[in-house]
């Protein structure tokens, strides 16, 4: 088996405090996992805010350098990428999708600009026709077309559509790996499934591996192949998604799983009433 991406005891710490109270905040501790190049999958990183999932994404994208350990993409350490050509080649293979589609796109720039400039930069396309064709092909994969997007601004489209355009943009260079950091948290619940289903299609039809970072366990359960649960920078549970999320073994994973409200009024009400009883009896008051 050849590894697409290998994280080898990766850690990242940040200095905190002032002159006299110098300290270190360990954002990611000793993180290791390997993604197989031959078997595309949806690999999910779950955790609450501050668990280190975004730092992990930034390190994989090469935006952040690990303070310990190594990240290897197709056998090559990503921190050794220096030259412009190497960097471009790496970026063509590893593409990001960001959390908030309304912030990811400049409101004063038409959306097609992002698609065209990605096509020019990574595919080296020169003529109008080639560029249009590349953009249209990518948009077709996400269920849109260039005719619908050309000349439009981000405020004219819904969050779900913008996020699909962000996916289309990421597909243009023909990536092997897409790192999606909370791609659905700013998207309406009713549109969420269209994005999540899209990831499945990408994996199955284009053979793209997706690192799906989320705090939403219900969509994680729905699409993931493998999952790791992070808490305060460390992995506390890892494995096959259905097994881990269906029957979590750690207390923290169980708490996370129980934090998911079921889409069923009777069960959801019971959970809230239990919380209410606990509140009233002055016992567990949530860490706050």
């Amino acid at each position: 088996m050849s590894a697409l991406l290998q994280l080898d005891h990766v850690g990242r710490s940040y200095p905190v405090g002032g002159l006299f109270a110098r300290g270190k905040m360990q954002a990611v501790k000793d993180l290791s996992f390997t993604l197989d190049a031959e078997r595309p999958e949806i690999f999910t990183i779950v955790g609450e805010s501050g668990s280190g999932k975004t730092t992990t994404a930034r390190m994989i994208l090469g935006n952040e350098v690990p303070t310990s350990g190594a990240i290897r993409f197709l056998g090559k350490d990503v921190t050794t990428i220096r030259s412009r050509g190497d960097r471009l080649a790496f970026m063509a293979k590893v593409q990001p999708i960001f959390q908030n589609p309304f912030e990811a796109f400049n409101p004063l720039t038409t959306l097609d600009f992002y698609l065209f400039s990605t096509a020019r930069r990574f595919l080296g396309l020169k003529t109008r026709g080639e560029i249009d064709a590349a953009a249209d092909k990518a948009l077709q994969h996400v269920g849109l077309s260039l005719a619908e997007v050309r000349g439009r601004y981000s405020h004219e489209l819904s969050g779900g559509q913008l996020q699909r355009i962000a996916v289309a943009r990421a597909l243009i260079p023909g990536p092997k790996l897409i790192v999606a950091d909370e791609p659905v948290s700013m998207v309406d619940a009713s549109l969420r499934m269209s994005i999540v289903n899209l990831f499945r299609t990408l994996r199955d039809e284009l053979g793209v591996t997706i690192i799906y970072i989320t705090h939403d366990l219900s969509t994680a359960y729905y699409i993931s192949d493998r999952v790791i649960i992070m808490h305060k920078g460390a992995v506390i549970e890892a494995g096959e998604a259905r097994a881990v999320l269906g029957h979590p073994s750690q207390d923290y994973s169980r708490a996370l799983r129980n934090a998911v409200l079921p889409p069923d009024p009777v069960a959801a009400r019971r959970i809230i009433n239990e919380r209410l009883e606990r509140r009233r009896s002055g016992l567990a008051e949530g860490a706050g």
């Binding site: 309406d188 366990l217 359960y221 409200l261 889409p263 009400r269 809230i272 919380r275």
Partner: protein, 341 residues
């Protein structure tokens, strides 16, 4: 803490606390002589009873936030009320939001309060939390400074916050604490009616249930009514007594939570509920085809018809009225056939 007792059921059911009648509020814009009208709230009629939690669901840009802003009387141009009325009934006294601005101002916070979206944006970052309470509430309570302070501290303890947070700056507090403070601000005067815009959307998963339990707790203690907006159907399932579904500025279905989850009458509601992911179930969820309608140029007839799996010719030409059906109301020509489909 003088917790107001729940109003007697016999008297409370008599007069609804809120009546919205044929309300239309449009964004009216005029660019270089070209008038553009966005019908964000289109012909909405609803009533809210005392002691009730009413949830409004819908996708973004469906007009749900515009609706509750209009109900709160918190709109400014270009959003204007074109027709209809919003009337509150506070202890037998009727208050028309768009007829009597003076009375409305007096009632605000005392009888009617607002939990805003994004707790971080409510609190002034350069002032201590206590100033926010002072600014919002002190003139509605008519208490001496020390009595006011004691009252606020007692209130914060009720909602599970240490009174010391009053001396903190907003950035020193976590998101969950700030959201609790926003709820504390809205409830310190023990209002009869609370309006909440996405009260839990910006929160971490682990905090969400606490905040929902808090909202429920405060509501039960004060016996107030709450109208809240969120696109997250699981939040509605957890705390709403009744749900109203908004699609493209119109109320398309309304009914008791349990009944709506079991037997949705409108195809849009059915889709919203069927598409919810559940742990333990990986069957493929369908996403809605097409795109959300443009409210400046909404589709003819039923506004849902271009995306509706059950649409027939009539749906494209005639707009279905909102009619009583079962335990609620629904606006669909094929309402009876949804459950079967």
């Amino acid at each position: 803490m003088q917790a107001t007792l729940k109003p007697d059921v016999a008297t409370s059911s008599a007069e609804p606390v809120l009546r919205v009648e044929d309300l239309k509020a449009y964004y009216q814009m005029n660019y270089f002589g070209v008038t553009r009208e966005v019908r964000a709230v289109d012909d909405i009629t609803l009533t809210i009873q005392r002691n009730e939690i009413y949830g409004i669901a819908g996708e973004s840009s469906s007009g749900k936030s515009s609706l509750i802003k209009t109900i709160a009387g918190a709109i400014r141009p270009p959003l204007r009320v074109v027709a209809g009325s919003v009337r509150f009934d506070f202890g037998g006294r009727t208050l028309d939001v768009y007829d009597d601005p003076e009375a409305m101002r007096a009632a605000r916070w005392r009888h009617l309060s607002y939990v805003m979206q994004g707790s971080m944006n409510v609190l002034n970052p350069v002032r201590r939390v206590k100033h926010a309470f002072h600014d919002f509430a002190v003139r509605h309570m008519g208490l001496s400074p020390s009595a006011f302070r004691a009252r606020v501290e007692a209130h914060l303890e009720q909602i599970g916050l240490d009174p010391q947070v009053l001396e903190a700056y907003p950035h020193q507090l976590s998101g969950g604490m700030r959201q609790r403070l926003a709820i504390g601000l809205a409830t310190v005067c023990e209002p009869e009616f609370i309006i909440a815009d996405e009260p839990t959307t910006a929160l971490d998963v682990l905090v969400q249930q606490d905040v929902l339990a808090l909202i429920k707790d405060v509501q039960m203690r004060l016996g107030s009514s709450i109208i809240f907006v969120t696109h997250d159907m699981t939040v509605h399932a957890a705390i709403a007594d009744r749900i109203g579904i908004i699609y493209a500025g119109r109320l398309v279905e309304e009914g008791p939570t349990q009944a709506m989850f079991e037997r949705p009458q409108h195809p849009y509601t059915a889709h919203l509920i069927a598409s919810l992911p559940r742990i333990g179930d990986t069957t493929r969820r369908q996403s809605l085809p097409g795109k959300p309608p443009n409210l400046a140029d909404p589709p003819s007839g039923c506004r849902f018809h271009p995306r509706c799996p059950l649409a027939v010719a009539k749906c494209a030409s005639e707009s279905p009225p909102l009619l009583p059906r079962g335990e609620g109301r629904v606006a669909c020509w094929r309402a009876g056939e949804v459950a079967a489909a």
